[in-house]
């Protein structure tokens, strides 16, 4: 028996980030005290589901959870990728939760990945699948990922609480490693695109959302197109809801996004996680449009080449670059972004030089990548 030394960690925070970095850096981890003092201790369904997903896409990985689920042992394997995989994400978190780490892992796999995910496509907590398609995937191209084979298809939508959405994600592998970037030119917003969707409700909800969002942008930019995606029948999933995803494209090829979704929460749920939201709609469609549009303008005002949601991913990709200097500009550091920076330092020992740019209120980050190579590709 070979004794494996585990890196010890505590708490349930940033679980997927830890698992992701653990896999990329081949560091076995041991997480203790996972919600040990909570009334419902242990791992949540989405966290278990994410572990199952890791098992599915990698070879020789080892997961051990103790009886109460408060302790987790993870020994990463080799990311294999593969085609025609299927994974059920469950209903406790939206697909965005799974997609964020998954795309990074898939890049460093042995074979290109194509996977069908089932579950919640849009909710208010995680980036929606629309945002993924419009913002996250173009972002990968900046790092030299080929756009061929990089795709996300929405087969059907599903909102909480019952989900029922289906997507197909395809991610190519990087041949050798990513490309270091200097990405500080934010450019100017040249167009705004967006999509509104509705499932199991009247199409009128979409039109109202669309009009109120347009009303905000009209004084700034004429090039605003928001598409509607009204789903009915089996394509609409199992729960009623509506939402919107907006993306601003700049002259230098940056994509800034904002999204939100409205749905009825389950009123009686033993999960204890959901708040009592009653039976009526949380936000009426006019407000949803205005709020999402305002959020987008807020992100634009803040500056940076990505929005605050994508900061973490941006830092991570920079850190995974070859041993070359990457330089990026972001707006205010988001709490999640800071967490990512800390974990990158712990796992990959890449430390960023962070410098504020007072004239614009943005932050410039520089780092030398850890030089991660796609090793799984070479194993045959």
């Amino acid at each position: 028996m070979v004794k494996i030394s585990y890196t010890k960690l505590k708490g349930s925070q940033n679980m997927r980030l830890r698992l992701l970095l653990s896999t990329l850096s081949s560091t076995p981890i041991l997480i203790e005290d996972i919600r040990a003092n909570a009334t419902l201790p242990g791992l949540r369904p989405h966290e278990v589901s994410f572990l199952r997903l890791l098992e599915k896409i990698s070879d020789d990985c080892f997961v051990e959870i103790n009886e109460t689920g408060t302790k987790l042992k993870y020994k990463p394997g080799i990311v294999m990728g593969g085609r025609h995989l299927v994974h059920d994400c469950g209903e406790s978190r939206a697909m965005g939760y799974f997609l964020e780490p998954l795309i990074v892992l898939a890049l460093f796999g042995k074979k290109p990945l194509s996977i069908k995910l089932r579950g919640v496509t849009n909710d208010s907590k995680d980036p929606s699948v629309d945002t993924f398609r419009s913002t996250t995937l173009p972002m990968l191209k900046q790092f030299g990922v080929s756009s061929e084979g990089l795709d996300l298809k929405i087969l059907s939508r599903g909102v909480p609480p019952h989900g029922g959405g289906e997507i197909i994600l395809s991610v190519p592998i990087v041949q050798d490693s990513l490309k270091a970037i200097t990405w500080i030119d934010e450019g100017m917003v040249k167009r705004i695109r967006g999509i509104t969707f509705s499932t199991r409700v009247s199409v009128q909800f979409e039109n109202t959302t669309l009009h109120s969002a347009r009303g905000i942008f009209n004084r700034l930019l004429p090039d605003v197109h928001i598409f509607t995606d009204h789903k009915t029948g089996p394509q609409a999933g199992k729960s009623p809801g509506y939402g919107m995803s907006l993306v601003a494209e700049t002259t230098s090829g940056c994509f800034i996004s904002a999204d939100n979704a409205v749905y009825r929460a389950q009123e009686e749920d033993e999960d204890g996680e959901l708040e009592d939201e009653g039976k009526k709609w949380l936000i009426p469609p006019e407000d949803l449009g205005e709020q999402t549009a305002s959020a987008l303008l807020g992100e634009i005002e803040q500056g940076g080449v990505v929005d605050s949601t994508h900061q973490g991913l941006l830092f991570l990709l920079c850190a995974l670059c070859p041993q070359d200097v990457s330089k990026v500009r972001v707006g205010k550091l988001s709490p999640y972004g800071i967490q990512v920076l800390r974990h990158i330092k712990d796992f990959l020992s890449v430390k960023f030089v962070i410098k504020p740019d007072p004239s614009t209120g943005t932050v410039i980050l520089r780092c030398v990548g850890c030089g991660l190579k796609n090793l799984s590709r070479k194993l045959s």
Partner: protein, 109 residues
């Protein structure tokens, strides 16, 4: 003097990210943790959800913090219908003043 000020801010930001979270003063980038309050809470810490609810969302030091990359900033609460605000970001759009916008990218090392 301006150079020194920017240098200090720089260190603060590095400290903010990499330094020990307990022993630092927070600057404007992260206005969330109320030090005194959290110390009081530490003393009478009920084992349960009650305490967590009040701390949830903003506390970065919570080991069981929700794993969520989406950050809802306060900008949503601003009234983007007002002319002043619209004018303030006018130059970030192609419809604004291009020469002023290009100034943003002249970043001094």
């Amino acid at each position: 003097l301006a150079e020194r000020a920017s240098l200090r801010q720089n260190i603060n930001l590095m400290q903010l990210v990499y330094g020990k979270p307990a022993s630092k003063s927070l600057n404007e980038t992260l206005d969330c943790i109320d030090e005194e309050e959290s110390e009081d809470d530490e003393f009478f810490k009920p084992k349960g959800e009650g305490n967590k609810k009040s701390k949830e969302g903003t506390d970065v030091n919570d080991v069981d913090i929700d794993d969520c990359s989406k950050f809802l900033n306060t900008a949503t609460k601003k009234n983007w219908k007002s002319e002043d605000l619209i004018a303030s970001i006018r130059n970030r759009f192609v419809t604004g003043d291009w020469s002023k916008a290009s100034l943003r990218n002249q970043f001094s090392e």
